[in-house]
Amino acid sequence: MMKNNKVTNILLSGVGGQGAILASNILAHVFVEAGYDVKKSEVHGMSQRGGDVTTHFRYGRKVYSPLIKLGDVDFLLSFELLEALRYINYCKDSARIIINNQKIFPPAVNLGLAMYPEDIPAMFKKHFKNNVRIVNGQEIALNIGNAQAANVVLVGAFSQYFPEIKEDMWIKAITDLLPKKIHELNIRAFKEGQRISSDK
């Protein structure tokens, strides 16, 4: 599994309250369990107040920098369309992109002072072709009981890129990190994410 010193770079982005930090904790749990060195870095000082949340997540045999170099992202996992677009230049040409199909207007857009960029999925598809997945996380999560679980739906969709990691490791991370009463909901959310992703 770890023949060379290749480090894989995953950038997670979203808006405070969307559960981006939980998603990155699930990743950390899984990749540590799989025997990798992991580094994860986030600015979350004021994210509770509606600011953007970004997590740099890196795994490999030995990881030095806690930050991903501009242009070196292998996977972009984004919980909001605009927050995906903000990091489009961070991605490698070969990057795989998963975006939650949700728009949350920033203040300037709410005030009518700026426009929310149009057709973000098309912008990604232009550059990354078939490596872009747009997931209706909210809708899927709502169908199984709670829109809050959209983040775990996204993680489920994301998990398809890592066939070497068995499903039970993801489920274990979810049950280790979340309170018992929401285990069932989140396991279903994860599996739904997996399913829609493999339906492609």
């Binding site: 808006v15 405070g16 950390a28 749990h29 540590v32 060195d37 992991v38 580094k39 994860k40 870095s41 986030e42 600015v43 979350h44 000082g45 004021m46 994210s47 509770q48 107040r49 509606g50 600011g51 953007d52 990881v63 030095y64 920098s65 806690p66 930050l67 991903i68 170099k69 501009l70 242009g71 070196d72 605009l82 927050e83 677009l85 903000r86 990091y87 489009i88 230049n89 040409d93 207007f105 920033p106 203040p107 300037a108 857009v109 709410n110 005030l111 009518g112 700026a114 426009m115 929310y116 960029p117 912008m123 550059h127």
Partner: protein
């Protein structure tokens, strides 16, 4: 056993493993997580102090008895703690005493950018600088050993990218602190810092520094890695991580101890490597010192910025110069609307600052969530310096311009910040006959840093019930005669009260009530109605309600007419999921278009 920990969690773990029994702090990003983590250990008395000066004094007192103690703060906290710290550097403490200070390069959440390494040189004490979570834990532990061995406070430097990054840490067991507890016999020449004994200690410090310099050469975390001998890098902390990532083949001298410097090791490195580059965030601290030792460096601050933070691409760009190939720009991301932090929907600060803006008051502000009212559309703050500074500022401004200033200005700060640094300047305003009006925004918690208890909340860090400061009694004891309480959600009453007090030629204090932080679980705010909604038949699209910058209200651009035939360019909409029903927007709407919603 290995576990993934945040840098701050690892510092807490290191302190616990080192046998620490007393830990104190005032919260401040990026250091705030250390104390709540320490509070989980039953062996440790972990507490929020009213400010960093008190935290350092309490921790040092514990260390005087032989205990191991730690005080934690952000970089600006050291400015407050500097007074006891600079003299504790003279006395030393019997038990291990560590001050953890977290810098915020690039100012993610601070009022300035400081390089705390300067404190080490200034106070003549050692400083360690970890670069990841494992080092955070290891360095914390060894800091206590150094403190006891050399009889000195030890500084541990954090930074946003170290304190707030997670990586794997090998966990170990807790060891008891090595020194027996007790109050020693009087030793005035060491602990009573009056001039005659200060002079003796001044000499002792220099001797200690010489010993520490020798120790730096054998310090196990000053590590030389010889690879390609053409280029070598002297660096530390996160900078090492970035450089190592981008230039893995260079040779490195990674300094775990950034003060004092290991002179012999540096000499050796210069012998082994042809060209030396110094890479460090913020000030040219290492560079200046290496140059002072007589060495010529190949690159330093001539290439690397002396402000903000470094990153893998920035070190590459700085060093490669013109040969740096920037990655492809697919979209001009500078043009994408920003998403700055905002006051929460329903926040009582929004209501209060709306009133101040309407009154046109010159606001001497403070740091905390209310600083978010400085940006548009509220734009209601004129100064933000540090905790408590607004009160002294408003009082001083009144002294300069006299009666001209009456009715025109006030100081605004929070409950936690008032207790931190606001008591002195209110006392001064009364004593020296000023007329400043101070508004204490009591949201029942330390908000911005993530909801920490303080002496006004009635609870300790460990969740025990405690004395609760009565602000009214407190300011009355300072001599304030005019004390008013306002409900900030009642705009008219608030504006009338503020206006009256601003015009009074005497010190006054206005305390908000009924406005706990919207994120506060214990004092969960409930409003009369569950949410408000827009009657789109009536909304004329005047945009007045947008002036409060509430995240729940948005503008829908769509030409049309109201039900009574008035033309409009668009209308507003309220997001039911975000709106907690505070009703501020409904008070502002002149057309009764914002109405209570039903469950």
């Amino acid at each position: 056993m290995k576990k993934i920990l945040q840098g701050n969690e690892a510092i807490a773990r290191g302190a616990w493993e080192a046998g620490v029994t007393v830990a104190c702090a005032y919260p401040g990003t990026p250091s705030s997580e250390i104390l709540p983590e320490l509070a989980q250990y039953k062996e440790i008395t972990a507490q929020w102090s009213p400010n960093e000066k008190v935290a350092v004094e309490v921790a040092s007192g514990a260390a005087f008895t032989g205990a191991r103690a730690i005080a934690c703060m952000k970089h600006v906290g050291m400015n407050v703690a500097a007074d006891p710290f600079m003299t504790l550097a003279y006395t030393g403490t019997k038990g291990g005493f560590v001050i953890m200070v977290a810098d915020d390069p690039n100012v993610h959440s601070s009022q300035n950018e400081q390089d705390s390494r300067n404190w080490a040189r200034f106070a003549k004490v050692p400083m360690l600088e970890p670069g990841d979570a494992q080092e955070c834990k290891d360095f914390t532990k060894i800091a206590f050993e150094i403190s006891e061995r050399f009889d000195t406070p030890v500084l541990l430097r954090g930074a946003t990218r170290v304190s707030h990054s997670d990586s794997l840490v090998e966990l170990e067991e807790r060891q008891a602190a090595p020194i027996a507890l007790g109050l020693d016999k009087k030793e005035s020449s060491k602990y009573v810092m009056v001039p005659v004994w200060v002079r003796q200690r001044r000499i002792a410090i220099e001797e200690r520094m010489k010993k520490l310099e020798k120790y730096a050469d054998e310090f196990p975390y000053n590590i030389m890695e010889i690879n390609d001998t053409k280029t070598g890098v002297i660096t530390s902390g996160a900078s090492y991580m970035y450089m190592k990532e981008v230039f893995p083949n260079y040779s490195y001298l990674k300094l775990g101890m950034v003060w004092p410097l290991p002179k012999k090791l540096i000499a050796k490195f210069f012998k082994k490597v042809e060209k030396i580059i110094v890479v460090e965030e913020l000030d040219p601290f290492l560079e200046t010192e290496v140059k002072a030792l007589g060495y010529k460096i190949f690159h330093g601050k001539d290439r690397f910025p002396n402000m903000f933070e470094l990153s893998p691409e920035l070190v590459e760009k700085s060093l490669k110069g013109k040969s740096y190939k920037a990655p492809k720009i697919r979209v001009k991301t500078e043009d994408i609307p920003k998403r700055p932090p905002n006051l929460c929907p329903g926040c009582s600060h929004r209501a209060l600052f709306y009133s101040l803006k309407k009154l046109g008051t010159f606001v001497f502000g403070d740091i905390g969530c209310y600083a978010l009212a400085s940006g548009p559309p509220l734009s209601a703050i004129h100064t933000t310096i540090c905790m408590g500074a607004g009160i002294g500022g408003a009082y001083g401004a009144g002294k300069a311009i006299g009666k001209e200033g009456l009715g025109k200005m006030c100081a605004v700060l929070g409950d936690s910040t008032f207790l931190h640094g606001g008591i002195g300047p209110v006392m001064d305003t009364v004593y020296n006959k000023g007329y400043a009006t101070t508004i204490i925004l009591d949201n029942r918690i330390t908000g911005m840093t993530g909801l920490q208890e303080h002496p006004g909340t009635g609870y300790t860090l460990k969740g025990e019930e405690a004395n609760m400061i009565d602000y009214e009694q407190l300011v009355r004891a300072l001599g304030v005669k005019n004390i008013r309480k306002v409900d900030p959600y009642n705009v008219k009453e608030t504006m009338d009260t503020i206006k009256e007090e601003l015009n009074r030629d005497e010190a006054s204090v206005i305390i908000t009530h009924n406005g706990p932080c919207m994120l506060h679980r214990r004092e969960k705010r409930k409003f009369q109605f569950p949410y408000y909604t827009v009657d789109t038949d009536k909304c004329r699209g005047c945009k007045s309600c947008l002036d409060i910058g509430c995240p729940a209200i948005s503008w829908i651009e769509q030409e049309g007419t109201t039900v009574d035939g008035k033309n409009r360019k668009g209308y507003v909409s309220i997001n039911r999921l975000q709106c907690p029903g505070c009703g501020l927007c409904a008070q502002i709407c002149k057309f009764d278009a914002i109405i209570p919603g039903q469950e």
